[in-house]
């Protein structure tokens, strides 16, 4: 396998990691706010904050990791996306800043402040929406290179049905992934009341993820037929994704094995995400940037891979420690520690 492909796969894996952990995080913030409004917060919110408090900072790193790695491996992306994404990127940054800091303000500072909770809960839903525009732009048609100048057509993006279907999918997925995870977490904590509320959320948001995915397929067909046809070549990957979805949803519906159900939710998104990514290759930005044209020089590529492996050797044991202390420690989850 080419080193370019290895680099992109690794980065894609990190983006997938971000997709899962950030979805849990963003959705949890929204549910915490929603429950507060419905005055059910005493049932759910302590559970949510027990999970989120030790991990929120780690979530953010996945994202930083992805974009630093992307620019490192493929410096041309900085040039194209950097120029085009000034406005959407800045808005995403502002949302991310509001969310991160108000999480801390609300959780460590003023616990009862509804404004803080509102800002932190609702900004979480807009972030996936604003990030998903990057994926839309990567399909081409929104950026044009004229001479040395990169021009970004914000109005085209705004009017594109494909773009909106991706936004819709992003928001729905966040709520589904998050609810599925929190149901499992509540179940581990033997917190029946919280589990029932969260289970309802998970079931409520499960059909829309499939509807939204179909919309995205339809939208892509209109927008980028070549990519759509390549996706059809990977139909079996998306088939796996759908099967995983069915397994997950039915387990949650039958109130059985919530942990396994969440693993299947992760697999559902894993297949969909990698199917999408594989069919998108070799383009990073259709038609200007491919993983081959944008690749950094050989020396740097190898250095990055070495550092990457060394870094993982450091990170994986640390992450395992974090998860053992807070995720798989039954007493902590139940609130006894």
């Amino acid at each position: 396998m080419d080193i370019q492909l290895v680099g992109m796969t690794v980065l894609w894996l990190f983006l997938y990691g971000y997709l899962i952990v950030a979805s849990i995080d963003f959705g949890a913030g929204f549910f915490a706010y929603y429950c507060k409004m419905k005055k059910q917060d005493h049932l759910v919110n302590h559970l949510i904050s027990r999970y989120l408090s030790p991990v929120w900072e780690v979530t953010n790193v996945f994202l930083v990791f992805f974009f630093v790695g992307l620019v490192g491996f493929f410096p041309d992306t900085a040039y194209y996306y950097g120029t085009a994404l000034l406005i959407p990127g800045s808005i995403a940054l502002v949302l991310l800043s509001i969310r991160g800091s108000f999480y801390a303000f609300a959780n460590y500072g003023s616990k009862e402040n509804k404004v803080y909770l509102f800002l932190y809960g609702v900004s979480g839903l807009f972030i996936p929406a604003s990030f998903s525009t990057v994926l839309t732009i990567s399909e081409g048609g929104f950026i044009e290179k004229r001479g040395e100048e990169i021009i970004f057509f914000a109005d085209r993006l705004f009017k594109s049905p494909y773009s909106w279907s991706v936004v819709f999918l992003a928001i729905v997925s966040v709520l589904f992934i998050s609810a599925a995870f929190l149901t499992y977490y509540a179940d581990r904590a033997n917190d029946e009341q919280a589990r029932e509320i969260l289970r309802k959320y998970a079931l409520f948001w499960s059909p829309p993820t499939i509807i939204a995915s179909l919309l995205v397929f339809a939208g892509l067909r209109e927008h980028n037929i070549a990519h759509f046809e390549k996706m059809l070549m990977y139909w079996w990957v998306f088939g796996f994704s759908f099967i995983c979805f069915l397994v997950a949803s039915s387990l949650i519906y039958q109130r059985k094995r919530y942990g396994t159900a969440f693993v299947f939710v992760m697999l559902q998104f894993f297949f969909a995400f990698f199917g999408y990514g594989a069919s998108h290759l070799p383009y990073i930005l259709d038609p200007y940037v491919t993983i081959y044209s944008a690749y950094t020089n050989e020396t740097m590529g190898i250095a990055l891979v070495i550092v990457f492996i060394a870094g993982l050797l450091l990170l994986i044991p640390s992450l395992v420690l974090l998860m053992r202390l807070f995720l798989f420690d039954a007493d902590y989850v139940k609130g006894k520690k």
């Binding site: 780690v58 930083v64 085009a84 108000f102 303000f105 460590y108 550092v307 990457f308």
Partner: protein, 442 residues
């Protein structure tokens, strides 16, 4: 001055960095003090120090959150505002940038663990051990990011032919001539600022009439650390001046208003510069600039006139240099006086004036961080990559940079106000005395 996208991109980058470095400084320095306090607390079995560690940590988390989000902002803004620069330099600096995220990742994981495991271990020393990876992570990320900045000052480890980068050597690029002095200076100045910010809190409480031992122990610990770090910062500053004299003489010359190349150059302190480039009201220390630069009173120091006019940094950076150095000296003197008074029975270390001087040291140390950083950054104007790429060639060509500036300005104002109120409220509602009582049944 016309507000084109180059100027606006510079303004927005300045804004974000100026805001970020306040929290970054605290993020790098405070973990060390937390760790020291917890260690003393465990060794002496002294609840005062344990409580210090806990309370500092609680405030620290809130500042970390703001530091993380503004750090994410500047990380992405590098590509958003300087796409052409990143396209070229990104090929060389991506290694340290990547390593910085690893260090940050490491720190984030252990900070999460540290925060929620205070009472989970049978032996308290296990909990203390968790503070070590936090310190390693935060200082390592400062190290890596500083090597990137050092590279922009003294680029090496590549060749540039017709806008294409070739023959890259990532390690040579990272360990460029500016790296040692810059890293040393950044780390020590973060440590000293953090020590003084925490000392400020303790001194302020004592001034307000709090008498508990807790505050006195906090003041003593932070002042001892402050003195050691202030001295190291002074040494680091001296090394930086020697580095500048050798590798970036135009920065030193502009900062010192040293126009003619000469032997036995004088050091200028303060003063103003009129439109004819005449220095007025300055304090002139004969031959000191030569000594500062090369440890030799008669060494030759290159003057600004030896550089083409369009490659000279602006002359106002002299004021930044003065402010930074003055505050640095102030911090050494204040912490020294406190230690002296504390040792000698004849003086009162809690004298009102001394305490107020310590309180002032907190904000002043941050002013020194800002001015020192402005001196270093503006001092390499007009270059973004000294000798290779000018700032104007690296900036974005996109429109609406101005609107984005206002957007971020509003964001930072809101964050600054709310962060401050949250921090004050957190500690006002729960004074140390009550917390000591309920936590340790003292």
């Amino acid at each position: 001055m016309e507000l084109d996208s180059v100027v606006l991109a510079r303004m927005l980058t300045t804004l974000t960095l100026a805001f970020h470095i306040i929290f970054a400084t605290i993020g790098v320095g405070v973990p060390i003090l937390i760790s020291i306090a917890e260690y003393i607390g465990i060794k002496r079995n002294d609840p005062h120090y344990l409580l210090l560690a806990r309370r500092w940590t609680r405030g620290f988390v809130v500042t970390v959150a703001v530091g993380v989000v503004t750090g994410t902002c500047i990380g992405l803004q590098l590509s958003l505002l300087w796409p052409s620069f990143m396209k070229i330099a990104g090929q060389v600096i991506s290694l340290p940038l990547f390593m910085e995220t690893f260090a940050f990742f490491f720190e984030a994981i252990f900070l999460g663990i540290y925060l929620y495991t205070w009472d989970r271990f049978k032996k308290p020393i296990y909990h203390w051990l968790l503070s070590i990876p936090i310190i390693i992570g935060s200082s390592a990320s400062a190290f890596f990011i500083t090597t990137v900045n050092a590279f922009m000052n003294t680029p090496q480890g590549f060749t540039l032919e017709n806008g294409a980068i070739a023959a890259i050597d990532p390690i040579t690029a990272m360990f460029n001539p500016a790296t040692p002095s810059k890293v040393f200076h950044v780390l020590t100045s973060s440590y000293v600022s953090s020590a003084f910010i925490l000392a400020m809190i303790a001194a302020f409480h004592i001034l307000r009439g709090k008498t508990d031992e807790y505050y006195k122990k906090a003041l003593k610990l932070t002042m001892v650390a402050g003195f050691i770090f202030a001295l190291s910062t002074a040494i680091a500053g001296d090394l930086s001046a020697k580095f500048l004299a050798k590798y970036q003489p135009e920065k030193l010359a502009a900062g010192e208003w040293h126009f003619e190349t000469e032997k036995g150059a004088d050091l200028l302190l303060y003063g103003i510069l009129d439109e004819n480039h005449e220095v007025k009201y300055a304090l002139r220390l004969p031959n000191m600039l030569s000594f500062l630069s090369f440890n030799d009173f008669n060494a030759e120091v290159i003057g600004l006139n030896d550089f083409p006019e369009d490659e000279r940094p602006p002359l106002w950076i002299h004021y930044m240099f003065d402010i930074m150095v003055t505050i640095g000296v102030y911090l050494v003197v204040v912490s020294f006086l406190y230690l002296l008074f504390e040792r000698m029975k004849r003086f009162n270390p809690y004298h009102k004036w001394l305490l107020w001087a310590i309180v002032a040291g907190g904000p002043l140390s941050l002013v020194a961080i800002e001015t020192g950083w402005i001196f270093a950054e503006v001092g390499r104007q007009p270059w973004i990559l000294r000798g290779y790429m000018k700032v104007a060639e690296g900036a974005t060509t996109a429109d609406h940079v101005g609107e984005m500036f206002l957007l971020f300005l509003a964001l930072y104002i809101v964050l600054a106000i709310i962060c401050t109120t949250v921090l004050i409220k957190m500690f006002k509602n729960k004074p140390a005395e009550t917390e000591l009582e309920y936590r340790f049944n003292k």
